[in-house]
Protein backbone atom coordinates (compact mmCIF):
# COMPACT_ATOMS: atom_id res chain seq x y z
CA UNK A 1 0.00 0.00 0.00
CA UNK A 2 1.22 3.48 -0.81
CA UNK A 3 2.17 5.61 2.19
CA UNK A 4 -0.39 8.24 3.20
CA UNK A 5 1.76 11.12 2.01
CA UNK A 6 2.37 9.47 -1.37
CA UNK A 7 -1.37 8.94 -1.77
CA UNK A 8 -2.08 12.59 -0.97
CA UNK A 9 0.57 13.66 -3.49
CA UNK A 10 -1.04 11.51 -6.16
CA UNK A 11 -4.48 12.98 -5.50
CA UNK A 12 -3.10 16.52 -5.40
CA UNK A 13 -1.37 16.02 -8.75
CA UNK A 14 -4.62 14.75 -10.23
CA UNK A 15 -6.46 17.72 -8.71
CA UNK A 16 -3.95 20.15 -10.21
CA UNK A 17 -4.34 18.65 -13.68
CA UNK A 18 -8.14 18.74 -13.45
CA UNK A 19 -8.06 22.32 -12.23
CA UNK A 20 -5.75 23.34 -15.09
CA UNK A 21 -8.07 21.71 -17.65
CA UNK A 22 -11.13 23.40 -16.16
CA UNK A 23 -9.34 26.75 -16.11
CA UNK A 24 -8.45 26.37 -19.81
CA UNK A 25 -12.05 25.49 -20.66
CA UNK A 26 -13.27 28.37 -18.54
CA UNK A 27 -11.09 30.79 -20.50
CA UNK A 28 -12.60 29.75 -23.82
CA UNK A 29 -16.25 28.90 -23.08
CA UNK A 30 -19.07 31.41 -22.72
CA UNK A 31 -21.71 33.44 -24.47
CA UNK A 32 -19.03 34.69 -26.82
CA UNK A 33 -16.99 31.61 -27.74
CA UNK A 34 -13.28 32.18 -28.12
CA UNK A 35 -10.96 30.14 -30.24
CA UNK A 36 -7.25 29.72 -29.74
CA UNK A 37 -6.36 30.42 -33.37
CA UNK A 38 -8.19 33.74 -33.49
CA UNK A 39 -6.71 34.77 -30.18
CA UNK A 40 -3.21 34.04 -31.38
CA UNK A 41 -3.92 35.67 -34.72
CA UNK A 42 -4.71 38.85 -32.81
CA UNK A 43 -8.46 39.32 -33.33
CA UNK A 44 -9.12 42.54 -31.39
CA UNK A 45 -12.58 41.68 -30.12
CA UNK A 46 -11.52 38.18 -29.09
CA UNK A 47 -8.55 39.60 -27.21
CA UNK A 48 -10.69 42.15 -25.43
CA UNK A 49 -13.20 39.53 -24.28
CA UNK A 50 -10.33 37.33 -23.20
CA UNK A 51 -8.56 39.96 -21.13
CA UNK A 52 -11.47 41.89 -19.64
CA UNK A 53 -14.02 39.11 -19.06
CA UNK A 54 -12.66 35.60 -19.15
CA UNK A 55 -9.36 36.13 -17.36
CA UNK A 56 -10.82 37.74 -14.26
CA UNK A 57 -13.63 35.20 -14.21
CA UNK A 58 -11.33 32.24 -14.41
CA UNK A 59 -8.92 33.65 -11.84
CA UNK A 60 -11.74 34.24 -9.37
CA UNK A 61 -13.18 30.79 -10.09
CA UNK A 62 -9.89 29.01 -9.48
CA UNK A 63 -8.53 31.15 -6.65
CA UNK A 64 -11.90 31.74 -4.99
CA UNK A 65 -12.76 28.06 -5.02
CA UNK A 66 -9.33 27.20 -3.68
CA UNK A 67 -9.71 29.75 -0.89
CA UNK A 68 -13.21 28.57 0.08
CA UNK A 69 -12.13 24.91 0.11
CA UNK A 70 -9.08 25.58 2.25
CA UNK A 71 -10.95 27.83 4.67
CA UNK A 72 -13.67 25.18 4.94
CA UNK A 73 -11.04 22.63 5.96
CA UNK A 74 -9.81 24.97 8.68
CA UNK A 75 -13.31 25.71 9.99
CA UNK A 76 -14.23 22.03 10.20
CA UNK A 77 -11.00 21.19 11.99
CA UNK A 78 -11.10 24.02 14.49
CA UNK A 79 -14.77 23.51 15.34
CA UNK A 80 -14.26 19.73 15.53
CA UNK A 81 -17.42 19.48 13.50
CA UNK A 82 -17.66 18.07 9.98
CA UNK A 83 -20.66 20.29 9.27
CA UNK A 84 -18.97 23.51 10.31
CA UNK A 85 -18.65 26.13 7.64
CA UNK A 86 -18.03 29.86 7.54
CA UNK A 87 -21.79 30.34 7.91
CA UNK A 88 -21.57 29.00 11.43
CA UNK A 89 -20.05 32.20 12.73
CA UNK A 90 -22.19 34.50 10.65
CA UNK A 91 -19.94 35.30 7.70
CA UNK A 92 -22.48 34.76 4.94
CA UNK A 93 -25.37 36.60 6.55
CA UNK A 94 -23.04 39.47 7.52
CA UNK A 95 -21.75 39.67 3.97
CA UNK A 96 -25.32 39.59 2.57
CA UNK A 97 -26.46 42.40 4.85
CA UNK A 98 -23.34 44.37 3.94
CA UNK A 99 -23.91 43.82 0.22
CA UNK A 100 -27.57 44.82 0.53
CA UNK A 101 -26.57 48.03 2.31
CA UNK A 102 -24.02 48.67 -0.43
CA UNK A 103 -26.61 48.12 -3.18
CA UNK A 104 -29.08 50.47 -1.47
CA UNK A 105 -26.88 53.30 -0.32
CA UNK A 106 -23.72 53.21 -2.38
CA UNK A 107 -23.06 53.03 -6.08
CA UNK A 108 -20.73 50.90 -8.12
CA UNK A 109 -19.61 47.27 -7.92
CA UNK A 110 -16.47 48.13 -5.98
CA UNK A 111 -18.51 49.82 -3.26
CA UNK A 112 -20.77 46.77 -2.93
CA UNK A 113 -17.73 44.53 -2.65
CA UNK A 114 -16.24 46.72 0.07
CA UNK A 115 -19.55 46.91 1.89
CA UNK A 116 -20.04 43.12 1.78
CA UNK A 117 -16.52 42.60 3.06
CA UNK A 118 -17.10 45.02 5.91
CA UNK A 119 -20.41 43.31 6.75
CA UNK A 120 -18.82 39.85 6.92
CA UNK A 121 -15.95 41.04 9.06
CA UNK A 122 -18.23 42.99 11.37
CA UNK A 123 -20.46 39.95 11.91
CA UNK A 124 -17.56 37.66 12.73
CA UNK A 125 -15.83 40.14 15.03
CA UNK A 126 -19.13 40.63 16.84
CA UNK A 127 -19.61 36.84 17.16
CA UNK A 128 -16.09 36.29 18.47
CA UNK A 129 -16.33 39.26 20.84
CA UNK A 130 -19.63 37.95 22.22
CA UNK A 131 -18.14 34.50 22.72
CA UNK A 132 -15.21 36.14 24.53
CA UNK A 133 -17.64 37.18 27.28
CA UNK A 134 -17.80 33.53 28.35
CA UNK A 135 -14.41 32.96 29.93
CA UNK A 136 -14.57 29.18 29.68
CA UNK A 137 -13.93 29.59 25.95
CA UNK A 138 -15.99 26.62 24.82
CA UNK A 139 -16.53 25.90 21.14
CA UNK A 140 -20.28 25.80 21.68
CA UNK A 141 -20.20 29.40 22.93
CA UNK A 142 -18.72 30.56 19.63
CA UNK A 143 -21.37 28.63 17.71
CA UNK A 144 -24.17 30.12 19.83
CA UNK A 145 -22.75 33.61 19.44
CA UNK A 146 -22.54 32.95 15.70
CA UNK A 147 -26.20 31.95 15.58
CA UNK A 148 -27.18 35.11 17.47
CA UNK A 149 -25.19 37.31 15.09
CA UNK A 150 -26.55 35.39 12.11
CA UNK A 151 -30.14 36.17 13.16
CA UNK A 152 -29.26 39.82 13.78
CA UNK A 153 -27.75 40.08 10.32
CA UNK A 154 -30.75 38.33 8.79
CA UNK A 155 -33.03 40.84 10.46
CA UNK A 156 -30.95 43.70 9.13
CA UNK A 157 -31.07 42.11 5.68
CA UNK A 158 -34.87 41.83 5.84
CA UNK A 159 -35.21 45.47 6.85
CA UNK A 160 -32.94 46.51 3.98
CA UNK A 161 -34.96 44.41 1.54
CA UNK A 162 -38.20 46.02 2.72
CA UNK A 163 -36.88 49.46 1.90
CA UNK A 164 -35.38 48.34 -1.41
CA UNK A 165 -36.88 49.30 -4.74
CA UNK A 166 -38.38 45.99 -5.87
CA UNK A 167 -37.63 46.49 -9.54
CA UNK A 168 -33.90 47.00 -9.46
CA UNK A 169 -32.43 46.97 -5.99
CA UNK A 170 -34.32 43.97 -4.60
CA UNK A 171 -33.42 41.98 -7.69
CA UNK A 172 -29.74 42.82 -7.35
CA UNK A 173 -29.79 41.89 -3.67
CA UNK A 174 -31.35 38.51 -4.47
CA UNK A 175 -28.95 37.99 -7.33
CA UNK A 176 -25.99 38.84 -5.13
CA UNK A 177 -27.13 36.35 -2.51
CA UNK A 178 -27.28 33.60 -5.11
CA UNK A 179 -23.71 34.30 -6.12
CA UNK A 180 -22.19 34.76 -9.53
CA UNK A 181 -18.80 35.25 -11.11
CA UNK A 182 -20.18 37.41 -13.90
CA UNK A 183 -19.36 41.06 -14.08
CA UNK A 184 -16.17 40.79 -12.08
CA UNK A 185 -13.69 43.16 -13.63
CA UNK A 186 -9.99 42.42 -13.71
CA UNK A 187 -9.30 45.82 -12.15
CA UNK A 188 -11.29 45.19 -8.99
CA UNK A 189 -9.94 41.80 -7.93
CA UNK A 190 -6.33 42.62 -7.10
CA UNK A 191 -6.84 43.68 -3.49
CA UNK A 192 -9.07 40.76 -2.59
CA UNK A 193 -6.77 38.23 -4.24
CA UNK A 194 -3.73 39.60 -2.47
CA UNK A 195 -5.53 39.46 0.88
CA UNK A 196 -6.62 35.87 0.22
CA UNK A 197 -3.14 34.81 -0.86
CA UNK A 198 -1.49 36.23 2.26
CA UNK A 199 -4.11 34.77 4.59
CA UNK A 200 -3.98 31.37 2.89
CA UNK A 201 -0.20 31.29 3.30
CA UNK A 202 -0.65 31.95 7.02
CA UNK A 203 -3.32 29.24 7.30
CA UNK A 204 -1.06 26.67 5.66
CA UNK A 205 1.76 27.68 8.00
CA UNK A 206 -0.60 27.23 10.97
CA UNK A 207 -1.82 23.82 9.81
CA UNK A 208 -0.20 21.93 12.70
CA UNK A 209 -1.80 24.33 15.18
CA UNK A 210 -5.25 23.87 13.64
CA UNK A 211 -4.87 20.11 14.10
CA UNK A 212 -3.98 20.65 17.78
CA UNK A 213 -7.18 22.70 18.16
CA UNK A 214 -9.12 19.65 17.01
CA UNK A 215 -8.36 17.93 20.32
CA UNK A 216 -10.68 18.45 23.26
CA UNK A 217 -10.07 21.80 25.02
CA UNK A 218 -8.45 20.57 28.22
CA UNK A 219 -6.37 18.16 26.20
CA UNK A 220 -5.20 20.87 23.79
CA UNK A 221 -4.33 23.03 26.77
CA UNK A 222 -2.20 20.26 28.23
CA UNK A 223 -0.41 20.03 24.89
CA UNK A 224 0.72 23.60 25.52
CA UNK A 225 -1.81 25.30 23.27
CA UNK A 226 -3.20 28.67 24.27
CA UNK A 227 -6.59 27.51 23.03
CA UNK A 228 -8.59 30.74 23.21
CA UNK A 229 -6.00 32.95 21.55
CA UNK A 230 -4.94 30.51 18.85
CA UNK A 231 -8.54 29.71 17.91
CA UNK A 232 -9.35 33.41 17.65
CA UNK A 233 -6.38 34.05 15.35
CA UNK A 234 -7.04 31.05 13.11
CA UNK A 235 -10.76 31.82 12.82
CA UNK A 236 -10.14 35.49 12.02
CA UNK A 237 -7.66 34.64 9.28
CA UNK A 238 -9.98 32.02 7.78
CA UNK A 239 -12.77 34.60 7.92
CA UNK A 240 -10.67 37.12 6.03
CA UNK A 241 -10.15 34.52 3.30
CA UNK A 242 -13.86 33.78 2.95
CA UNK A 243 -14.85 37.44 3.13
CA UNK A 244 -12.31 38.24 0.44
CA UNK A 245 -14.01 35.77 -1.88
CA UNK A 246 -17.70 36.23 -1.14
CA UNK A 247 -17.49 40.01 -1.23
CA UNK A 248 -16.48 39.61 -4.89
CA UNK A 249 -18.80 36.78 -5.90
CA UNK A 250 -21.79 36.84 -3.57
CA UNK A 251 -22.71 33.78 -1.56
CA UNK A 252 -21.43 30.50 -2.91
CA UNK A 253 -22.96 27.50 -1.28
CA UNK A 254 -21.45 24.12 -0.60
CA UNK A 255 -17.84 24.64 -1.74
CA UNK A 256 -16.47 25.25 1.75
CA UNK A 257 -18.47 22.34 3.13
CA UNK A 258 -17.93 19.82 0.39
CA UNK A 259 -14.35 20.29 -0.80
CA UNK A 260 -12.73 19.34 2.55
CA UNK A 261 -15.01 16.31 2.88
CA UNK A 262 -14.10 15.15 -0.58
CA UNK A 263 -10.41 15.63 0.17
CA UNK A 264 -10.61 13.73 3.44
CA UNK A 265 -12.60 10.87 1.95
CA UNK A 266 -9.88 10.52 -0.68
CA UNK A 267 -6.81 10.74 1.55
CA UNK A 268 -8.35 9.52 4.84
CA UNK A 269 -6.27 11.91 6.90
CA UNK A 270 -5.97 15.58 7.83
CA UNK A 271 -2.39 16.33 6.89
CA UNK A 272 -1.19 19.34 4.97
CA UNK A 273 -1.68 17.44 1.68
CA UNK A 274 -5.37 17.04 2.48
CA UNK A 275 -5.69 20.76 3.17
CA UNK A 276 -4.11 21.47 -0.22
CA UNK A 277 -6.41 18.94 -1.86
CA UNK A 278 -9.42 20.67 -0.23
CA UNK A 279 -8.36 23.86 -1.96
CA UNK A 280 -7.83 22.14 -5.32
CA UNK A 281 -11.22 20.43 -5.17
CA UNK A 282 -12.81 23.75 -4.18
CA UNK A 283 -11.21 25.37 -7.23
CA UNK A 284 -12.42 22.59 -9.54
CA UNK A 285 -15.92 22.78 -8.11
CA UNK A 286 -16.30 26.54 -8.42
CA UNK A 287 -14.61 26.72 -11.80
CA UNK A 288 -16.71 23.84 -13.15
CA UNK A 289 -19.91 25.31 -11.71
CA UNK A 290 -19.13 28.66 -13.29
CA UNK A 291 -18.54 27.10 -16.71
CA UNK A 292 -21.99 25.50 -16.50
CA UNK A 293 -23.60 28.66 -15.11
CA UNK A 294 -22.70 30.59 -18.24
CA UNK A 295 -23.13 27.88 -20.85
CA UNK A 296 -26.23 25.75 -20.17
CA UNK A 297 -28.84 28.47 -20.66
CA UNK A 298 -29.14 31.59 -22.75
CA UNK A 299 -29.12 33.69 -19.60
CA UNK A 300 -26.38 33.66 -16.98
CA UNK A 301 -27.44 31.47 -14.03
CA UNK A 302 -26.40 31.81 -10.37
CA UNK A 303 -23.30 29.75 -9.69
CA UNK A 304 -24.55 28.31 -6.39
CA UNK A 305 -27.10 26.21 -8.26
CA UNK A 306 -24.26 24.37 -9.95
CA UNK A 307 -21.88 24.11 -7.01
CA UNK A 308 -24.65 22.19 -5.26
CA UNK A 309 -25.66 20.29 -8.38
CA UNK A 310 -22.10 19.14 -9.05
CA UNK A 311 -21.13 18.81 -5.42
CA UNK A 312 -23.96 16.74 -4.02
CA UNK A 313 -23.58 13.74 -6.38
CA UNK A 314 -19.81 13.85 -5.87
CA UNK A 315 -20.25 13.68 -2.11
CA UNK A 316 -22.78 10.86 -2.42
CA UNK A 317 -20.41 8.96 -4.71
CA UNK A 318 -17.57 9.34 -2.21
CA UNK A 319 -19.77 8.19 0.67
CA UNK A 320 -20.86 5.06 -1.18
CA UNK A 321 -17.31 4.35 -2.25
CA UNK A 322 -16.40 4.57 1.43
CA UNK A 323 -19.21 2.25 2.53
CA UNK A 324 -18.47 -0.47 0.03
CA UNK A 325 -14.76 -0.16 0.64
CA UNK A 326 -14.03 0.10 -3.08
Amino acid sequence: MASPTAKAKYFCAAGEVLLAVLAAVSLLVGKYPLSLEKLIAGDALQRRVFWTLRCSRTIVGVAGGFALGTAGFVFQTVFRNPLASPDIIGISSGASAGAAAGILFLSGAAAVTASAFAGALLAVILALALSGLDKSGRNSTIVLAGIAVHSLAQTALMCLKLTADPERQLASIEYWIMGSLSGISIHSIGGNLLLCAVCLAVLFALHRQAILLSAEEGEARMLGVNVGRLRLVVLLIATLVVSGVVSLTGLISFVGLLAPHGARLLTKDNRMGTMLLSGLLGGCLLCGADILARSVAAAELPVSIFTSLLGAPFLIFLLFRERRGL
Binding site: G218, R221, R264
Partner: protein, 261 residues
Protein backbone atom coordinates in the same frame (compact mmCIF):
# COMPACT_ATOMS: atom_id res chain seq x y z
CA UNK B 1 10.97 19.20 50.29
CA UNK B 2 8.89 16.79 48.26
CA UNK B 3 9.18 16.57 44.48
CA UNK B 4 5.52 17.42 44.07
CA UNK B 5 3.20 18.98 46.62
CA UNK B 6 -0.41 20.11 46.51
CA UNK B 7 -1.54 22.54 49.24
CA UNK B 8 -5.17 23.21 50.07
CA UNK B 9 -6.65 22.44 46.64
CA UNK B 10 -10.35 23.23 46.28
CA UNK B 11 -12.07 23.15 42.91
CA UNK B 12 -15.37 22.43 41.22
CA UNK B 13 -17.75 23.48 38.49
CA UNK B 14 -19.96 26.55 38.41
CA UNK B 15 -18.96 27.80 41.85
CA UNK B 16 -19.66 24.56 43.73
CA UNK B 17 -16.55 23.06 45.21
CA UNK B 18 -16.44 19.32 44.52
CA UNK B 19 -13.09 18.80 46.18
CA UNK B 20 -12.29 20.69 49.36
CA UNK B 21 -8.94 21.63 50.83
CA UNK B 22 -6.88 18.68 49.62
CA UNK B 23 -3.18 18.55 50.44
CA UNK B 24 -0.69 15.81 49.66
CA UNK B 25 2.86 15.27 48.46
CA UNK B 26 4.53 12.85 46.05
CA UNK B 27 8.21 11.93 46.19
CA UNK B 28 10.38 11.62 43.08
CA UNK B 29 10.12 8.19 41.47
CA UNK B 30 6.82 7.47 43.18
CA UNK B 31 3.36 6.71 41.87
CA UNK B 32 0.43 7.95 43.93
CA UNK B 33 -2.97 6.43 43.34
CA UNK B 34 -6.29 8.09 44.08
CA UNK B 35 -9.13 5.79 45.08
CA UNK B 36 -12.72 6.74 45.63
CA UNK B 37 -16.25 5.92 44.61
CA UNK B 38 -17.71 7.43 41.44
CA UNK B 39 -18.37 11.12 41.98
CA UNK B 40 -15.92 11.42 44.87
CA UNK B 41 -13.88 14.02 42.97
CA UNK B 42 -10.98 11.97 41.57
CA UNK B 43 -11.08 13.47 38.09
CA UNK B 44 -11.75 16.95 39.47
CA UNK B 45 -8.60 16.68 41.59
CA UNK B 46 -6.46 15.70 38.59
CA UNK B 47 -7.92 18.48 36.46
CA UNK B 48 -7.26 21.01 39.20
CA UNK B 49 -3.65 19.88 39.63
CA UNK B 50 -2.89 20.25 35.93
CA UNK B 51 -4.64 23.61 35.76
CA UNK B 52 -7.51 22.68 33.41
CA UNK B 53 -9.92 23.61 36.20
CA UNK B 54 -9.58 26.89 38.05
CA UNK B 55 -8.85 26.17 41.71
CA UNK B 56 -7.68 27.66 44.97
CA UNK B 57 -4.57 26.34 46.64
CA UNK B 58 -1.16 25.76 45.13
CA UNK B 59 0.72 22.96 43.38
CA UNK B 60 4.51 22.88 43.38
CA UNK B 61 6.60 20.64 41.15
CA UNK B 62 10.35 20.50 41.71
CA UNK B 63 10.30 23.97 43.28
CA UNK B 64 8.17 25.55 40.55
CA UNK B 65 4.68 26.81 41.23
CA UNK B 66 2.48 25.25 38.53
CA UNK B 67 -0.18 27.96 38.66
CA UNK B 68 2.40 30.59 37.66
CA UNK B 69 3.48 28.81 34.47
CA UNK B 70 2.26 29.66 30.97
CA UNK B 71 0.29 26.92 29.16
CA UNK B 72 3.40 26.05 27.15
CA UNK B 73 5.67 25.78 30.18
CA UNK B 74 3.05 23.88 32.14
CA UNK B 75 2.68 21.39 29.28
CA UNK B 76 6.44 20.89 29.21
CA UNK B 77 6.46 19.85 32.88
CA UNK B 78 3.14 18.16 33.28
CA UNK B 79 1.43 15.56 31.12
CA UNK B 80 -2.25 14.70 31.45
CA UNK B 81 -4.07 11.65 30.11
CA UNK B 82 -7.84 12.15 30.16
CA UNK B 83 -10.27 9.25 30.52
CA UNK B 84 -11.01 9.67 26.85
CA UNK B 85 -9.12 11.71 24.33
CA UNK B 86 -11.27 14.18 22.41
CA UNK B 87 -9.58 13.56 19.07
CA UNK B 88 -12.35 13.17 16.52
CA UNK B 89 -10.65 13.68 13.17
CA UNK B 90 -8.85 11.19 10.93
CA UNK B 91 -5.24 11.23 12.06
CA UNK B 92 -2.53 8.59 12.20
CA UNK B 93 -1.40 7.15 15.53
CA UNK B 94 2.08 8.54 14.88
CA UNK B 95 0.74 12.05 14.35
CA UNK B 96 -1.17 11.78 17.63
CA UNK B 97 2.05 10.94 19.46
CA UNK B 98 3.85 13.80 17.68
CA UNK B 99 1.30 16.24 19.11
CA UNK B 100 3.06 15.69 22.43
CA UNK B 101 6.11 17.62 21.22
CA UNK B 102 4.11 20.79 20.68
CA UNK B 103 5.27 22.52 23.89
CA UNK B 104 8.82 22.27 22.62
CA UNK B 105 8.10 23.52 19.11
CA UNK B 106 7.71 27.07 17.87
CA UNK B 107 4.40 28.13 16.34
CA UNK B 108 5.51 27.37 12.80
CA UNK B 109 8.00 24.57 13.51
CA UNK B 110 7.42 20.92 12.68
CA UNK B 111 8.59 17.85 14.61
CA UNK B 112 12.14 16.95 13.54
CA UNK B 113 13.42 13.49 12.71
CA UNK B 114 14.66 12.88 16.27
CA UNK B 115 11.13 13.53 17.50
CA UNK B 116 9.76 11.24 14.80
CA UNK B 117 11.93 8.37 15.98
CA UNK B 118 11.19 9.13 19.65
CA UNK B 119 7.48 8.95 18.81
CA UNK B 120 7.94 5.60 17.06
CA UNK B 121 9.88 4.31 20.05
CA UNK B 122 7.14 5.45 22.42
CA UNK B 123 4.53 3.61 20.36
CA UNK B 124 6.67 0.50 20.60
CA UNK B 125 7.06 0.98 24.34
CA UNK B 126 3.30 0.79 24.88
CA UNK B 127 2.91 -2.17 22.54
CA UNK B 128 1.62 -0.38 19.43
CA UNK B 129 4.66 -1.00 17.21
CA UNK B 130 3.70 -1.27 13.55
CA UNK B 131 0.54 0.80 14.00
CA UNK B 132 2.18 4.15 13.23
CA UNK B 133 0.09 4.75 10.11
CA UNK B 134 -3.14 3.34 11.50
CA UNK B 135 -5.98 5.81 11.76
CA UNK B 136 -6.34 6.74 15.43
CA UNK B 137 -10.14 6.62 15.15
CA UNK B 138 -9.95 3.00 14.00
CA UNK B 139 -8.07 1.90 17.13
CA UNK B 140 -9.95 0.17 19.95
CA UNK B 141 -10.63 2.26 23.05
CA UNK B 142 -7.79 0.48 24.82
CA UNK B 143 -5.36 1.12 21.99
CA UNK B 144 -6.39 4.78 21.89
CA UNK B 145 -5.60 4.99 25.59
CA UNK B 146 -2.17 3.42 24.98
CA UNK B 147 -1.53 5.81 22.10
CA UNK B 148 -2.23 8.79 24.36
CA UNK B 149 0.05 7.23 26.98
CA UNK B 150 2.78 7.01 24.33
CA UNK B 151 2.23 10.68 23.50
CA UNK B 152 2.62 11.68 27.12
CA UNK B 153 5.69 9.49 27.70
CA UNK B 154 7.39 10.84 24.57
CA UNK B 155 6.75 14.44 25.56
CA UNK B 156 9.23 14.10 28.42
CA UNK B 157 7.33 15.79 31.22
CA UNK B 158 8.26 15.15 34.86
CA UNK B 159 4.77 14.92 36.33
CA UNK B 160 2.26 12.55 34.79
CA UNK B 161 -1.44 12.69 35.62
CA UNK B 162 -3.51 9.74 34.48
CA UNK B 163 -7.26 9.55 34.77
CA UNK B 164 -8.36 5.91 34.97
CA UNK B 165 -5.86 4.70 32.39
CA UNK B 166 -6.99 1.12 32.97
CA UNK B 167 -10.71 1.64 32.43
CA UNK B 168 -10.78 0.66 28.75
CA UNK B 169 -8.00 -1.92 28.89
CA UNK B 170 -8.22 -5.67 29.22
CA UNK B 171 -6.34 -7.56 31.94
CA UNK B 172 -3.06 -7.94 30.10
CA UNK B 173 -2.90 -4.34 28.92
CA UNK B 174 -3.72 -2.98 32.37
CA UNK B 175 -0.62 -4.59 33.78
CA UNK B 176 1.44 -3.62 30.79
CA UNK B 177 0.35 0.02 31.12
CA UNK B 178 1.21 0.21 34.79
CA UNK B 179 4.50 -1.61 34.27
CA UNK B 180 5.38 0.84 31.48
CA UNK B 181 4.54 3.64 33.88
CA UNK B 182 6.75 2.19 36.64
CA UNK B 183 9.56 1.79 34.14
CA UNK B 184 9.18 5.41 33.09
CA UNK B 185 9.23 6.56 36.74
CA UNK B 186 12.50 4.76 37.40
CA UNK B 187 14.25 6.54 34.53
CA UNK B 188 14.66 9.96 36.11
CA UNK B 189 13.37 12.68 38.42
CA UNK B 190 9.65 12.25 37.89
CA UNK B 191 6.47 11.24 39.60
CA UNK B 192 2.95 10.20 38.68
CA UNK B 193 -0.56 10.61 40.03
CA UNK B 194 -3.16 8.16 38.83
CA UNK B 195 -6.84 7.58 39.54
CA UNK B 196 -7.79 3.92 39.39
CA UNK B 197 -11.02 1.96 39.43
CA UNK B 198 -9.41 -1.31 40.37
CA UNK B 199 -8.20 -1.28 44.00
CA UNK B 200 -6.15 -4.45 43.59
CA UNK B 201 -4.22 -2.88 40.75
CA UNK B 202 -3.72 0.27 42.83
CA UNK B 203 -2.49 -1.70 45.86
CA UNK B 204 0.12 -3.51 43.79
CA UNK B 205 1.46 -0.72 41.62
CA UNK B 206 1.24 2.47 43.70
CA UNK B 207 3.61 3.61 46.43
CA UNK B 208 0.87 5.51 48.16
CA UNK B 209 -2.91 5.59 47.90
CA UNK B 210 -5.07 8.58 48.72
CA UNK B 211 -8.65 7.80 49.67
CA UNK B 212 -11.14 10.36 48.49
CA UNK B 213 -14.69 10.44 49.74
CA UNK B 214 -17.21 13.23 49.16
CA UNK B 215 -14.45 15.52 47.94
CA UNK B 216 -12.24 15.31 51.01
CA UNK B 217 -9.20 13.17 51.74
CA UNK B 218 -10.19 10.54 54.28
CA UNK B 219 -6.99 8.58 54.49
CA UNK B 220 -3.70 7.53 53.05
CA UNK B 221 -2.38 4.00 52.54
CA UNK B 222 1.19 2.89 51.94
CA UNK B 223 0.70 -0.63 50.56
CA UNK B 224 4.35 -1.51 51.06
CA UNK B 225 4.53 -0.56 54.74
CA UNK B 226 1.12 -0.39 56.37
CA UNK B 227 -0.23 -3.37 58.32
CA UNK B 228 -2.95 -5.37 56.58
CA UNK B 229 -5.61 -4.59 59.21
CA UNK B 230 -5.13 -0.86 58.94
CA UNK B 231 -5.34 -0.94 55.13
CA UNK B 232 -8.40 -3.16 55.26
CA UNK B 233 -10.20 -0.84 57.68
CA UNK B 234 -9.49 2.17 55.48
CA UNK B 235 -10.51 0.50 52.23
CA UNK B 236 -13.75 -0.64 53.86
CA UNK B 237 -14.78 3.00 54.34
CA UNK B 238 -15.05 3.21 50.54
CA UNK B 239 -15.83 -0.28 49.34
CA UNK B 240 -17.76 -1.85 52.26
CA UNK B 241 -16.95 -5.24 53.76
CA UNK B 242 -13.98 -6.88 52.11
CA UNK B 243 -11.10 -9.28 52.58
CA UNK B 244 -7.53 -8.20 52.02
CA UNK B 245 -4.93 -10.91 51.51
CA UNK B 246 -1.17 -10.97 51.16
CA UNK B 247 0.05 -13.59 48.74
CA UNK B 248 2.98 -14.37 46.50
CA UNK B 249 2.97 -14.72 42.74
CA UNK B 250 4.58 -17.80 41.20
CA UNK B 251 7.83 -15.90 40.76
CA UNK B 252 7.79 -15.04 44.46
CA UNK B 253 6.75 -11.40 44.32
CA UNK B 254 4.63 -10.10 47.19
CA UNK B 255 1.13 -9.15 46.05
CA UNK B 256 -2.01 -7.82 47.69
CA UNK B 257 -5.38 -9.19 46.77
CA UNK B 258 -8.67 -7.52 47.60
CA UNK B 259 -11.94 -9.43 47.52
CA UNK B 260 -15.42 -8.21 48.22
CA UNK B 261 -17.15 -10.03 51.12
Amino acid sequence: MSFFSAQGISAGYGGNNIIKDISFTVEAGCLTGILGANGSGKTTLLKAVCGILPHSGACTLDGKKLEALSPRELARHCGYIPQRSGISIDISALDVVLMGFNPRLGLLEHPNSAMQSAARAALGQVGLAGMENTNYLHLSEGQKQLCILARTLAAGSSLLLLDEPESALDFQFRHRTLETLRGWLSEGERCGIVTLHDPTLALNFCDELLLLSGGVLTGCIRPGEDPLDKMKAMLETIYGNLSLLRCRSRSGQARLLMLKE
